[in-house]
């Protein structure tokens, strides 16, 4: 016979009330756990979605000169480059400790070139990676596959009469590729299959639909081919990197790349990082607000239940005080009861919240990421429920302990 024996016997005696309180706490904890799990998954989803919108790290050679502009990023001119980026640098980037977080590494060489007699920005790219990075491109035609294949920006294509509005017959020999979009096709079609670039004929295999971006005014070719074409063999002007942003240690990744490429200027694209951070912060604030409301409701429920329990048990508490129980013994017994209920509620809340989040996750997330048993969340659910339970029952317990035993005995 200990105080705990009394507490557990009391719980057993008032099964209905204990059950009601456990279910109430479980609902509260479950709501918060489900919300946190969903929020975490949605955050990851948003991160993944934002990562699709392009690079979040840009690497350019160290230079003071600003010669060419690409996508809002200034690229040093060839003549004044003090340090060149090289093809080998791409492999060095893959060696950083966070290399698994790098989803796309897209090297580029950029140069002004004469295309059909007009000055155009020519970019040599690794199409496989570049197209992963530019998911918003809508290509009419097909993606380049051979060394001399070119992808032309919408403005350039229009200026060089490579395309014409839909309705006119396309030039024979131009293939329609896998990446064409119905919408773009309805606007134009390719009517000219090749162009003269730096004195050589090249096939135009695809035209990028208007994006409003710099690519509208560019021509893209295979990296190695363009490097040779513009006499920049092995040289790169810019490397764009897309880092998977779970936990988003972009600044750490930037630091690691800097260590590997001390001759390069490595910078995070702040807009992407900020947008993601802001989105995550909003979600976190929303989750926190809902959690606070749920916690307040839960605490009030425990408080009122305990208050009524104390009133019901005036007689019993009076007898215990009369036979020599200290105030602290009464408080200890009551808190132990609530802590036990809270722990049970916390566990069932964690389990049900997790189950609920798994059920509804497919409706919120395309990927369904975040379906994992998180021991930290279990610990937090148990600890949080017990903390709230204990805090909410302190006042009722103290009030019970302060009951005047002579009054309680008189009452009985």
């Amino acid at each position: 016979m200990r105080i705990s024996t009394l507490a557990f016997a009391n719980l057993n005696r008032r099964k209905g009330k204990a059950m009601f309180l456990t279910v109430g706490i479980a609902i509260g904890v479950g709501t918060i756990v489900a919300l946190l799990s969903l929020s975490n998954s949605i955050q990851e989803e948003i991160g993944a979605q934002l990562d699709r919108f392009g690079a979040n790290i840009v690497i350019v050679p160290q230079s003071n000169s600003l010669a060419l502009d690409y996508g809002g990023v200034s690229v040093p001119g060839v003549t004044f480059d003090q340090h060149q980026l090289r093809n080998e640098d791409v492999e060095k980037i893959r060696e950083i400790p966070y290399h698994k977080r790098l989803s796309v590494i897209a090297p580029k060489v950029l140069s002004a070139a004469k295309v059909e007699g007009q000055q155009v920005l020519l970019a040599g790219v690794d199409f496989k990676n570049e197209l992963k990075l530019r998911r918003w491109w809508r290509i009419t035609g097909r993606s380049p596959e051979n060394e001399g294949d070119m992808l032309v920006g919408y403005e350039v294509a229009r200026a060089l009469s490579i395309i014409q509005p839909t309705g006119q017959a396309p030039q024979q020999g131009v293939e329609a590729g896998a990446h064409h979009s119905t919408e773009e096709q309805s606007q134009f079609q390719i009517v000219k299959g090749d162009v003269q670039i730096a004195g050589q004929r090249h096939s135009v295999v695809g035209v990028i639909g208007a994006t409003g971006g710099p690519e509208d005014r560019m021509v893209f070719g295979e990296l190695l081919h363009v490097q040779k074409l513009v006499n920049k063999a092995g040289q790169l002007n810019v490397i764009e990197v897309s880092a998977l942003c779970k936990g988003c240690p972009v600044e750490d990744i930037v630091g690691q790349i800097r260590d590997k490429l001390p001759h390069a200027k490595v910078s995070a694209v702040q807009q992407a990082v900020k947008a993601r951070t802001e989105m995550v912060a909003r979600l976190t604030r929303f989750s926190a607000a809902v959690a606070v409301v749920v916690l307040i409701i839960g605490a009030l429920m425990i408080f009122t239940t305990m208050m009524s329990s104390v009133v019901e048990r005036t007689k019993e508490i009076g007898v215990l005080r009369a036979i020599g129980f200290r105030r602290t013994h009464i408080i200890k017994g009551l808190i132990l009861e609530v802590a036990t209920i809270s722990a049970a509620g916390g566990f069932f809340g964690w389990a049900s919240g997790l189950a609920a989040s798994w059920v509804v996750l497919p409706y919120f997330s395309e990927t369904g990421v975040g379906r994992e048993l998180n021991p930290t969340l279990l610990f937090a659910a148990l600890f949080g429920a017990m903390l709230i339970g204990t805090l909410s029952s302190i006042y009722p317990a103290v009030r019970a302990a302060k009951l005047d035993p002579s009054e309680a005995v008189r009452y009985i």
Partner: protein, 265 residues
């Protein structure tokens, strides 16, 4: 020095609703020796329970002091006073107030719940007191599986498990039929014969007659203090008190022949 010394104890309750005060006890002084069996009698509302809880270290007097075994009970802090109740006092309530969800053994062990002794020893002690009230074979029963007399005996067992020097009882036979009440009083008498000091509130003249001394309280003042025989004689001399009954008690000291006037209210 007396085992219990009640010195000039007064108790006043303030009634905030009416902005007035009610004097419940007025300047009560009495000394009780160790192993005495005291019966406290008086009409309803006369202050019996207030005096009992005051002696029971639960109800601080407005004036005066209570010394038990030389300890000024109300000079102790609240927590120390709880410890004092645990160590020195055993309570038997009118309706027993057993915990319905605990077995007889667990009920008897209840005052030991906060003790640091092992569970095994607690069980042993509880079994000893249960045996002493002839409930050893019903230790595993719940209170509602016991008769009224057995419940009363269990309440006494609970009060005795800590071996307290003073047993306080508030109308222990008040809710029992006469036969069961007699059983309980036999237990009290046995205990008293073994040296247990008992302070018992009762309305029952027969039970009061079993005590060494009877305290008669009226309107908060002690009007009679003596053996049942003396108390009867003293009250018989009062002009406002008509003889009402003649009874023969079976107490160890007093056979209250013509013990009239022990007003059972």
């Amino acid at each position: 020095m007396a085992f219990i010394a009640i010195e000039n104890v007064s108790k006043t309750y303030s009634e905030t609703e009416f902005d007035s005060t009610v004097k419940v006890l007025t300047d009560i002084s009495v000394e009780i020796e160790e192993s005495e069996f005291i019966a406290l009698m008086g009409p309803s509302g006369s202050g019996k329970s207030t005096l009992l809880t005051t002696v029971g270290a639960m109800n601080r007097p407005s004036h005066g002091r209570v010394l038990i075994d030389g300890i000024d009970v109300y000079g102790l802090s609240d927590e120390r006073r709880a410890d004092f109740r645990m160590e020195y006092l055993g309570f038997v309530f009118q309706q027993h107030h057993l915990m319905p969800y605990l077995t007889a053994l667990e009920n008897a062990m209840l005052p030991l719940a906060t003790s640091s002794v092992s569970n095994r020893e607690k069980r042993q002690r509880a079994m000893v007191v249960l045996e002493s009230v002839s409930l050893g074979n019903k230790a595993s029963r719940l209170p509602n599986q016991l008769s009224g007399g057995e419940q009363g005996r269990l309440a006494i067992a609970r009060a005795l498990v800590n071996q307290p020097p003073l047993l306080l009882a508030d109308e222990p036979t008040g809710t029992l039929d006469s036969k069961t009440g007699s059983e309980i009083m036999e237990v009290f008498l046995d205990l008293n014969r073994q040296g247990q000091t008992i302070f018992m509130v009762t309305h029952n003249q027969d039970n009061a007659a079993l005590a060494d001394r009877v305290l008669q309280i009226r309107d908060g003042s002690l009007v009679v203090c003596g053996t049942a025989h003396e108390a009867g004689r003293m009250l018989a001399g009062r002009t406002d008190h008509e003889p009402r009954a003649v009874y023969v008690g079976q107490g160890k000291t007093a056979v209250a022949e013509s013990a009239v006037g022990l007003d059972p209210a």
